[in-house]
Structure formats: C-alpha cells, structure tokens
Subunit: 260 residues, 2 copies
Amino acid sequence: MKGKLTLVGAGPGDPELISVKGAKVLGTADVVLYDALTHPDLLDYVKSNAEVIFVGKRAGKHAMLQEEINELIVAKALSGKHVVRLKGGDPFVFAHGKEELEYAETFGITTAAVLGISSINLPGFYGIPLTRRGINESFWVVTATNKNGMLSPDVQLAAQSNATCVFLMGMNKLKEISKIYLNIGKGKTPAAIISRGSLEDGQIIFGSAANIYAKQSIKKLDTPAMIVIGASVGTHEYFYEKMKNLSFFNAKTNNQRKNE
Amino acid sequence: MKGKLTLVGAGPGDPELISVKGAKVLGTADVVLYDALTHPDLLDYVKSNAEVIFVGKRAGKHAMLQEEINELIVAKALSGKHVVRLKGGDPFVFAHGKEELEYAETFGITTAAVLGISSINLPGFYGIPLTRRGINESFWVVTATNKNGMLSPDVQLAAQSNATCVFLMGMNKLKEISKIYLNIGKGKTPAAIISRGSLEDGQIIFGSAANIYAKQSIKKLDTPAMIVIGASVGTHEYFYEKMKNLSFFNAKTNNQRKNE
C-alpha cells in the first residue's frame, strides 16, 4: 500500500483561518509534518495517535533541507500512511508545494492539496485593501530576496508600476527597497509593514516608501513580516488622519500670517 | 443598540474552503447577505431563524447596486442585528470590502472581517504554482476589465514583466490579452484558463498566450473564469507531456531522414 500525501495550507497566522476542509484532513492524518509558520493550536485537530514531526527552523538549529523533507514524506507514505504536510499560508505561494507533490508522485504516491489563505491577504485584515475601485487595478506580489539571497530584479519593475506591491521576505532588503522608490521619485507612496499578521501580537506600522525603513529601525517589528507599498495603502484611516492634521496645521499657519 | 457588520470571505468555490472562523461567524449572524459567487451549501452554517438575502446578479435581473447593498447593511445593523456579508473569495481582493466597512463605520456600526481564500489561489489546486523556485520570483494579479469596461493598462505592463500574471474579469478581453503577448514577442508563454475552480464541474484548459483565445473559442468554458499566463504555468505536467511528444516526433523524423 502506497499511502497518500496531502498538502494543507494552514492560513496566515490565526489558527481559525485554516479552511474547514484543511481541519478535517488534519483529523485523518497518520503523520503530520509542520513548520515554524504554522500555529501550534492547529495540532488540536490531529488524532492523538498520529505522529507529529517538526520540520522547521528553531533557534540555534538548522532547518531540515527541502530534500530531507521530501525524503521523509516519501518514506512515511510508502509505509502506507496518510502524510499531511501542513504549510503556513497557501502551499503554492512561495512555499515549494508543487515540488513536494511532484517528488512524491514519482514514487507512485497519491497526492492531494487543500488551499489556504495566503499571508498576502493579511493587509485586508488591517484595513488595507489590496485593490480599491478607482485607486488601483492590480497588485504585484514579489519575494524580495531571491534564492541567491539577492534583491529580486522584479522589485525594481514592481516599484515603477501602478500596482500595489506586496514584498515578502523583504525585511533584510527594506533599505534597498526604500531607495528604489526614492530614486524613481516615488518616495511618497504610502507604505506599511505587517508583522505576525492576524495573530494576537500582530503589529502594523505606516509611513511612506521613503521613511518606512527609518520607522522600522525604531519599531523593530518581528518577523514574519511583509511590506506593502502602493496607492491602495493610502486608503487606510491612518493617512486620512494625517491629512486632517496637516490641513489643521496649514489653516493655523495661515491664520497666524493674517494676524502678523 | 447599533448592531455589527462582519465581512466573511467565502473562499474560491468549494464550500469547505471557507475558514473555520468564517463558518463560526455565519452561525452567529442574524442577517446574511450573499451573492452569486458564494456556494449555497454555506448557508447550512446559518441559524434557521436568521434572515438570508441574495444581493447578486441573477439571469434576466440586475444586480443590486453597491450603494443599495451598503444601505441595506446599515439599515439591518442599525436595528441591532449582526449582519454578515458573505463574499466570494477574499473580501479585499477586487471585492469592495473596504468600501462596505467604511460606509457602515460612518454610522457608528462596529465592523470586523474574516479573510477568505482568494480565487487567485486556484491555480495551485490545478497543479500550477503561482511561484516556483528558480522559475519566477513574483506574480501579478490584474483585473483585466477596469470600471469603465476597458482593458486595464496594467495588462500591457504585466505582460512585459517576468511575473506570472493572473487576469481576473478577463474572459471578454481574452483576444486583446493574447494580442498583447503576441505583439511583444511572448506569444509562446504558457497559459491556462480555470473555470469554476475547486467546484465539481471545474475545468481547466492549457495553451500558449497566443493560442489560448482560439482554444477557449472552441471549449467555451463557463464563467467565473481566470486566465493565468507565465513561466510557472509551464511547470504543469501538461507541458512536460507536450515536450515528450515533440521529442518523440522529432526523433522519428530524424530516423526517417536517415533511412531516406
């Protein structure tokens, strides 16, 4: 008997954001492989006699290599077990999901996948719509750090577009990203950083493409964090309040001038 | 008492892809407003004495205007009720979610939102990862039809980028989109159309940016449908099979040549 592999998207943080189907599938697993981005409460759905294996990074310890994870999945499935690979967010957005499925399939293992809410949807939860009628017609999601550890060239293109840009894996590249926007004259574009989104200790900071690096240097938000830059970010209440304050200050200045 | 509004993302089609939190919130609603893109089985989560109102398009009948939906939400909430607005996909991806929240908030109504799996994640379900290590570093999501019914200028930019492009509301613009790729010499880019994704009658067709319009003219897939074009689409098994067949034909031709 060749067992089975099911990839399950755990959602973006809050354990209740897993899908109903994902929770059900967890309950049928014989083996669950999970990583650092999946909430521990999700393991409540797992049968008490199931084997639960952590395959993520932990302080001071290296993460399991992708190849080691692939091998572990195959070994467990070939022993006839239903292996569930629980992955933060959605399995197919910057998550090697397709690679894990393909590797298992070469061994004749049956595979399935349950989609998850991607972390790219987190801005909406914090009052930043990825799209807003009349403001933007697209959004562009970029992994800022490519597989060689360099800034992805797509960041430069994305910054020039009218899309609202979502940068993942970008916290170590934040200064470079700010500079790109500054250099093309778009330093004032509204920006935000969302840290540990949808979790109880989730945080968000606002600013502009130009000053968001300085703000993060002070606030030091935790990872995982994402950067959002674009016109639709500017529809958040934060920016309306700023504008109100500015017009208040301007009005005051004008009145003072009259009195002089 | 001022009631409450909660937006809930219904997910991309399959009713089991709603989040656990979304299903729970539906069970607490006094009034549920739903539209054509939400699966009828989701109403099973609703209390039997709750009021359920359809606000979408139906054959031969106009949809309720966004302004009418806003008014209805406010009227129901101001009578002290918990209104749940159930929206296909995620409430903040091409879905006016932020507008509905803001309108209600101007009346002092408490608001909340539960994220949903966006339809933009559907390609993963069909074996097309939006991102694939070593293949692409970004994806760009564009509403092909803008609010004036025209092709969004972002389509032209997106086609030129290295991003995998997801076009929503694009089926009436498919010929134009194909032409854009052809005109910039990218007609061979792998492409797919996903119709009624994650539902039992869901369908997918594959081709190239150049020929996908012709294929759709024959297959006539139903809406809602999305178009995906980009290098990561080419990692689907469909294209590997094509390549194998091609090399088989080429090998045959070479052998025949030798025999001549």
